[in-house]
């Protein structure tokens, strides 16, 4: 029977082509959009974690209150012992200290006077320790455009765009003017060892990267740091895990009476990404609903049109004694076949586009010129196991739903009038 119905669907193309195309396009869009949203979500979380907040971040309570202003005067003191404790008590996380700082990078002429200068957003990370995780977290080697990574104290990296703007060459001196932890003016000479490009507008505009030990010396931050970042070993952020860790840490270390005691915050909390991710999740759900409902309406309409076109055929089949239930079921089987084939083709096409954008990405640098978001300039889709089935079932469901509504008309046909209708 099913074979017979499939033959009918294939041979009578006007019965199958339009619903098939509708399902295929709808499924393709769903699969692609889902993969794209997954990619954007992952990109947001990854870049914010790696360049901003870690999966969890430890600061002094006072620093945490004003963390968006990078108040290094409120830094946490006693980093060495805290890091030691963290590494022994929470070994399933990677812990690394960081100092963020702002200031002016000044390039001298032969007389030692200002030749060029620009505002700099700096980050000090552990570069010199042999087993430092920062090199892989920030992909430092891959980010170097000219020169090399700093190898000795006093060497820094600056962003390629910034270096071009200041017209500074590798090996030249750059003076950082910033503020020490005590509020004094910090003026320190560094040597530019190389230039970097992270592929993030906000970092590439005017970034400077130095070793954390060098910056502790420059900013009078002995055994102090602005932030200690923690990363899950698998680099996958799970908010529940981070929240549980935060509760445990804060219960043990945070003291309400000491504003310089350490406090832990999660990535979602610190970056306010939680709200954004919630919105994206809602958006993804809405896409599916929006997809299933209008596609069902389109397919219902297609079913109605089909019923009109097949009005005579249905009448003959009823006149020949086929029961209404059997006829209705056979139409559902037909639509299942169309839905299956359409969903399969749509999934394949959607995944194809998603895989392409996962590999090659889509450059949004021109839109990110003034952005302050820690997000890559190249947005990529991300194909996940869910992406393989996300469009398939809604596609099948929409086809079935459309046909089942349109097919109700069969039950309205009155057998007594059939002969008269068929004469016409």
């Amino acid at each position: 029977m099913i074979k017979f119905l499939i033959k009918g669907v294939i041979r009578d193309r006007s019965r199958s082509v339009f619903p098939l195309l509708t399902v295929m396009i709808g499924v393709m869009l769903t699969v692609f959009l889902y993969a794209w949203i997954q990619g954007v979500q992952t990109s947001f979380i990854d870049s914010t974690a790696k360049f901003g907040t870690g999966h969890v971040k430890i600061m002094s309570r006072a620093y945490a209150e004003e963390s968006d202003q990078i108040p290094n005067d409120l830094s946490y003191v006693g980093v060495k012992s805290l890091l030691k404790e963290l590494r022994s008590e929470y070994p399933d996380l990677i812990w690394t200290p960081r100092i963020k700082f702002g200031g002016l990078l000044d390039i001298p002429d032969e007389q030692g006077e200002t030749r060029a200068q620009g505002p700099v957003a700096g980050m000090a990370v552990d570069i010199f320790t042999e087993d430092s995780p920062e090199k892989s977290i920030l992909n430092l080697e891959g980010a170097v455009v000219q020169g090399r990574l700093p190898q000795k104290s006093g060497e820094i990296l600056i962003s390629e765009e910034f270096a071009n703007r200041l017209d500074i060459k590798i090996g030249e001196t750059a003076t950082l003017i910033s503020m020490t932890m005590n509020g004094s003016m910090a003026v320190t000479n560094f040597t530019v060892a190389g230039t970097i490009r992270f592929g993030m507008s906000v970092m590439d505009r005017g970034a400077m990267l130095a070793d954390v030990g060098d910056m502790q010396t420059a900013l009078d931050m002995e055994d102090a740091t602005g932030e200690i970042l923690g990363f899950f070993q698998d680099f996958i952020y799970v908010d529940e895990k981070a929240e549980e860790l935060k509760a445990r840490f804060n219960a043990r270390y945070t003291e309400e009476t000491d504003e310089f005691s350490p406090i832990m915050r999660t990535l979602f909390e610190e970056s306010e990404l939680g709200d954004l991710m919630g919105m994206i999740g809602m958006f993804a759900g809405a896409i599916l609903v929006i997809f299933v409902v209008p596609m069902s309406i389109v397919l219902w309409n297609a079913g109605l049109m089909g019923s009109l076109r097949r009005y005579g055929e249905i009448g003959v089949r009823l006149a020949m004694g086929e029961s209404k239930g059997h006829l209705y079921r056979s139409m559902l089987v037909e639509s299942t076949v169309i839905g299956f084939v359409g969903s399969l083709l749509g999934t394949m096409l959607g995944l194809g586009i998603a895989y392409y954008l996962q590999t090659h990405g889509f450059n949004i640098a021109s839109m990110m010129k003034n952005s302050t978001l820690l997000i890559s300039d190249v947005m990529r889709a991300k194909v996940t196991p869910v992406g393989h089935i996300i469009g398939f079932f809604p596609g099948l469901l929409a086809t079935l739903l459309g046909t089942s509504i349109a097919g109700i008309g069969i039950y309205r046909r009155q057998t007594s009038r059939l002969m008269k209708e068929l004469e016409v």
Partner: protein, 247 residues
């Protein structure tokens, strides 16, 4: 005697009319600017910065010529000793002995705090003549620190000014602004200044103890204490050159 009586009466009425009139805001600003003076002076001062982790005292000596030129050398603490700053009109350079560099402070750096205090470089660079930058209106009279004051609201004449508006309390007798609130264009209060002590030095009323507070920063503000001031001092011209920064 009889002939001169009407003339005397008219003169008397004129004098009474003139002096009974409420002075204008601009006139008060003019008196305030005049009191600051534009002559040469050598100033020895201390700045106590009250941070959340403790307080620091920064001592400095400044040579000032008129309103356009000033040269400051920091004397203490050791971290700051030898740091020098030169202001020539609207330009500012700093010299750091540790790096032997002369660096021009410009752009966004001007908004940064000077030595961690509640004062920014922009505040330091500001022309002290308020009348040049603001139009003033008297909005009331109050008694502040037991002194009778005019309350003036100043609105910037130029978009380039660091503060869009200010509210100042001017001592009616001494023409010293005893209190000041500085506002952004949005109306947000940015900084406050309070003069705790005014002293008479060489026929002028000079603020001796001032408290600056950056409202956006936590902490108890920055105290400025004038240790000594020498008016009409002889200052050689070479002091106000970049070469003197390295000396």
């Amino acid at each position: 005697m009889r002939k001169s009586s009407p003339i005397f009466a008219i003169c008397l009425i004129f004098v009474v009319l003139v002096f009974s009139q409420e002075p204008s805001g601009d006139w008060i600003l003019e008196q305030l600017d005049e009191n600051i003076g534009s002559d040469n002076k050598i100033v020895l001062s201390s700045m106590i910065v009250h941070g959340r982790r403790g307080s620091r005292t920064i001592e400095s000596k400044s040579w000032v010529q008129g309103r356009e030129k000033s040269f400051t050398e920091y004397l203490a603490p050791p971290r700051e000793k030898g740091t020098k700053m030169l202001k020539l009109e609207d330009q500012l350079w700093t010299y750091s002995p540790a790096t032997d560099r002369i660096i021009k402070i410009s752009g966004h750096m001007l908004r940064q705090s000077v030595m961690g205090s509640d004062l920014s470089y922009e505040d330091m660079m500001e022309d002290p003549r308020l009348l040049k930058m603001y139009s003033a209106e008297i909005v009331g009279e109050e008694t502040l620190f037991e002194r009778s004051c005019w309350v003036l609201e100043l609105v910037s004449k130029d978009d380039d000014n660091a503060y869009h508006s200010r509210k100042i309390w001017v001592d009616k007798e001494r023409f010293v602004a005893l209190k000041e609130d500085r506002f952004a264009r949005s109306g947000k209060l940015l900084k406050t200044t309070e003069i705790k002590e005014v002293t008479r030095m060489q026929d002028r009323w000079v603020p001796r103890h001032i408290i600056f507070k950056d409202v956006l920063k936590r902490g108890q503000g920055t105290e400025f204490i004038l240790e000594s001031i020498e008016f009409d001092a002889e200052i050689p011209e070479y002091v106000f050159t970049k070469a003197s920064l390295r000396k």
